[in-house]
């Protein structure tokens, strides 16, 4: 076998493997999208066979139209995009600043605070939700009528509790620790201020981890469910995942659920694709690969 043949064979094997794995990852999602095109009874019957993956039978976009009628999707989507965008932006700033401080600056109590942060990472949200609700209900906020007590039923109650999180800090911290110390030392010798080092030197090369942290926060905010349920009572302020509950009536509208799920999932995939491209390019040109 010539070298070229062997190379070609290995290449096709690699692609075969890649495609096989891709199939495993894609099949439930394919099932979801295909189901969204079918009427309820057919959907449920097809779910027992490979027809579940095929656009066969009575195919239409009716479920999408019905879903739009049932749920104020545009409003919910706006709320989710707004709360998610603000949270992602703010959390990247706050978390990376804290991580920068932990990784590069010396101050008293740092070790203690760092272990405290890791400890908070351990607390699942579900178990502190009720105390959190009580706290949020007693916090002050400056509204149109001056200082008000209670954050419930607002955008900020959906955003502010989540703009710092220990996992985000931890991600940045681990990444920063791997960066060569000379980067910072050289900048210090050049007389750069600490803020300049953070903003001009470290953050520009934080591409991959920034993307990871952004995606992570995006997912948490986009999928927010329990907290908005507890804190939001006006329909105008509800986020997109709460809308899923609108379909679980006495008669469950499976086709509409699948349509709704497809609609809430696809934007996230697009967000991921966009980020991935941007950051993979940024790291390729940042020169860190040396």
């Amino acid at each position: 076998m010539s070298y070229e043949t062997r190379e070609r064979l290995s290449l096709s094997l690699r692609y075969a493997l890649l495609i096989l794995i891709a199939a495993i990852f894609i099949f439930p999602i394919l099932f979801m999208v295909m189901s969204s095109l079918k009427p309820d009874l057919q959907l449920l019957r097809d779910s027992a066979s490979l027809r579940a993956f095929l656009p066969v039978g009575d195919i239409s976009l009716n479920n999408y139209a019905d879903a739009f009628e049932r749920v104020p999707i545009a409003r919910f989507a706006f709320n989710s995009v707004f709360t998610t965008a603000v949270s992602v932006g703010a959390s990247i700033l706050l978390n990376s600043m804290a991580a920068f401080s932990f990784a590069f600056l010396q101050w008293r109590g740092k070790a203690f605070v760092l272990s405290l942060i890791i400890a908070t990472f351990i607390v699942p949200f579900e178990v502190v939700a009720i105390p959190m609700l009580l706290i949020a209900n007693n916090l002050p906020w400056i509204g149109p009528q001056g200082i008000e007590i209670g954050w419930l039923n607002s955008y900020h109650v959906q955003i502010i509790p989540f703009i710092a999180d220990s996992l985000g800090i931890f991600l940045f911290y681990q990444y920063f620790r791997d960066l060569p110390d000379e980067l910072v030392e050289a900048a210090r010798i050049d007389g750069a201020s600490i803020w300049q080092i953070y903003a001009r030197i470290i953050m520009p090369i934080a591409g991959p981890i920034l993307a990871t942290a952004a995606i992570l926060k995006f997912l948490i905010m986009w999928n927010a469910y329990l907290w908005p349920l507890m804190t939001i009572r006006s329909e105008e302020l509800r986020p997109i995942m709460v809308g899923l509950q609108y379909f679980f009536q006495l008669n469950i509208a499976w086709g509409e659920i699948m349509a709704y799920l497809s609609m809430v999932t696809i934007p996230v995939l697009i967000f991921y694709l966009a980020l991935q491209r941007a950051f993979i390019e940024s790291i390729a040109t940042s020169g860190i690969k040396g």
Binding site: I24, I29, A98, K110, L134, D165, D178, V268
Partner: protein, 378 residues
């Protein structure tokens, strides 16, 4: 010229409080900026995580209810005692009037446990306890009695879940990352596909997989049937106590492996290409490159991935809530599911809080041990 120590002593108190104990004064700028930069995140975490958790901690020593006109009272360790009581008890075989053992179809016959654990004034310490497991020792049967069978099962299930998920998911994620970390056309397409499940909310994933795991005509049974040309016997994946937890594990790995793959990829990309080139010049093969270049370069990433997966696994909740609600026969109970079910649904917020505290202690211990084991050895 004054000494560094004197300069430090003369500085205002607040500066000294911020400075590390033996740091010279000229580093005060670092210390002040360090505090300022960490402060916003710390305030948020304190108000929305630390204080709520401390509240939960306090509540766990009371009999606070979610909905009740009765005022809360201190009950000391009652909630923890109920959750954690464990006793052994020995059952002797039944004897007839002459004192000989009674046999029931060839095997020894034992009295029913409920005769000891329910309203038996001779055994007040056993009242309300339930059998967790038992075994035969000589003619007697030794029984482990516990105060809260469901919680103990939940704890054990959760530990098993984490112990399986952490290496499995971390390892698979690394394999995928290595597979994708090559310059092939369309590699980004595959990367996105592998990541796709991550962006689907766990609630949604769990709903979809209920269809897939259906015991009668679910997609998984259908596909396995086709692959094996019909010789595969359908399995009731979520209905069988032996397959339910593994089924949830498989789905959880499927959903989350893409996320850790991305973390590995980010780590891989920090390894300079020059190192590989140098290793290649030294005649290193693919495995040696991994062993001596890739793996050492992924140290911190490995620690991160391991800790993140473990902690997330210990928080197992949504899958159980949507797919099995702890069943069948408690095979999929999890600690957080029990905390939520008791705290919210059964409105016993004090017991839910006690479970949270126990979970916190366990996970904190695991995380510290992991950090100790994976610490950098100098």
């Amino acid at each position: 010229m004054i000494s560094a120590a004197t300069a430090r002593k003369n500085a205002p108190l607040w500066v000294r409080l911020l400075l590390p104990r033996d740091a010279p004064l000229y580093q005060r700028n670092d210390a002040i900026m360090g505090w300022l930069m960490a402060l916003p995140a710390l305030v948020i975490l304190t108000v929305f995580l630390v204080i709520p958790f401390l509240m939960a901690f306090v509540i766990s020593f009371t009999n606070q209810r979610l909905i009740s006109p009765n005022p809360a009272e201190w009950v000391g360790l009652r909630n923890f005692e109920r959750l954690l009581t464990i006793r052994t008890f020995t059952l002797e075989p039944e004897r007839d009037e002459s004192g000989a053992y009674v046999y029931d179809g060839g095997s020894l016959s034992y009295p029913r446990l409920r005769e000891f654990t329910r309203n038996n004034p001779d055994y007040p310490e056993l009242d309300g306890l339930r059998e967790f497991t038992s075994w035969q020792s000589d003619d007697n049967r030794t029984v482990i009695l516990v105060g809260d069978v469901v919680f103990l099962r939940a704890l054990i299930n959760t530990l098993i879940f984490a112990a399986v998920i952490a290496p499995l998911q971390g390892g698979l994620a690394l394999l995928l990352a290595l597979l994708l970390n090559q310059a092939l056309p369309f590699i980004n397409v595959f990367r996105s596909i592998y990541f796709a499940p991550v962006v689907v909310s766990m609630v949604v994933v769990s709903l979809l997989w209920r269809f897939i795991y259906d015991g009668h005509n679910g997609l998984l049974n259908t596909i396995l049937g086709i692959i094996s040309f019909g010789s595969f016997q359908p399995v009731d994946w979520l209905g069988n106590p032996y397959t339910a937890l593994p089924a949830i594990m498989a789905m959880s790995v499927w959903q989350a492996v893409g996320f850790h793959m991305v973390i590995w990829l980010a780590g891989l990309q920090t390894i300079p290409a020059s190192l590989y080139e140098a290793a290649g010049l030294d005649g290193a093969g693919a495995f040696q490159k991994f062993r001596y270049v890739t793996w050492p370069g992924l140290r911190n990433t490995a620690v991160l991935v391991l800790i993140v997966i473990t902690i997330q696994a210990m928080g197992l909740f949504v899958q159980v809530d949507v797919m099995t609600r702890g069943g069948p026969l408690d095979a999929t109970q999890s600690v957080v599911f029990q905390a939520v079910q008791r705290g919210y649904d059964k409105q016993d917020i004090a017991e839910g809080a006690a479970i949270s505290v126990i979970l916190f202690v366990i996970v904190f211990t695991i995380a510290m041990v992991q950090r100790y084991i994976t610490r950098e050895k100098n």
